[in-house]
Amino acid sequence: MVKIEVLGTGCSKCKSLAKNVEKAVAELGIEAEVVKVESLQEIMNRGVMMTPALFIDGEAVAVGRAPSVAEIKGMLNR
């Protein structure tokens, strides 16, 4: 099962990314654990100084922007 982490403290961009992730997972029909990381301290400790950020299986794939549903699907299909 793929682990997807959405890092952001909860502003509109972060929420938009979380929605896009949920939609991408649903459209692909894959099993995924989606985790929202909202602690500013934890986000900074992960080396993220700009949010939102997206990690797939522990690897940063987007930082400082919210990729579209199509882009996230492409990232998950890699």
């Binding site: 403290t9 502003c11 080396g47 700009m50 950020a53 930082v63």
Partner: protein
């Protein structure tokens, strides 16, 4: 520059706002320290964000991914241009490059930052950004 999401609180959010990142050499000389201080002042004025050149130098994915999406301003203290070279090594290119010694400020091992020197760099960068 206003934050894109007004619901964000500056101290509690890292929400990506604006397109400009300042990356400074922050070297061990007066001009290195001026590069950092000038970027801090520009960031405080809301002209962009101070970003971690060390993170780029360490080739951290999180830093490089964020920097790739934005316009970068490299502020180097002297003509050795370490900040610009670090960006080059990481495959990044600055939209604007400023060298403090090019503004008539002499490099010295002293670390004190003269307010007038810092102001000169800040004003030059603002001028270059307006073009």
């Amino acid at each position: 520059m206003a934050r894109e999401d007004e619901s964000c609180e500056e101290e509690k959010c890292l929400c990506a706002s604006g397109e400009l990142l300042f990356l400074t050499c922050s070297g061990g000389s007066n001009v290195g320290q001026i590069s950092n201080k000038a970027a801090v002042e520009l960031a405080k004025e809301g002209r962009g964000r101070l970003f971690c050149l060390a993170g780029i130098g360490a080739h951290l994915d999180t830093m490089i991914l964020a920097a790739k999406e934005r316009k970068l301003v490299a502020i180097d203290g002297c003509p050795i241009q370490c900040a610009t070279k670090i960006l080059d090594h990481a495959g990044l290119e600055s939209a604007l490059s400023v060298v403090v010694t090019d503004l008539g400020i002499e490099k010295s091992p002293r670390l004190e930052v003269e307010a007038a020197d810092c102001e000169k760099v800040v004003e030059k960068i603002k001028e270059r950004l307006r073009v």
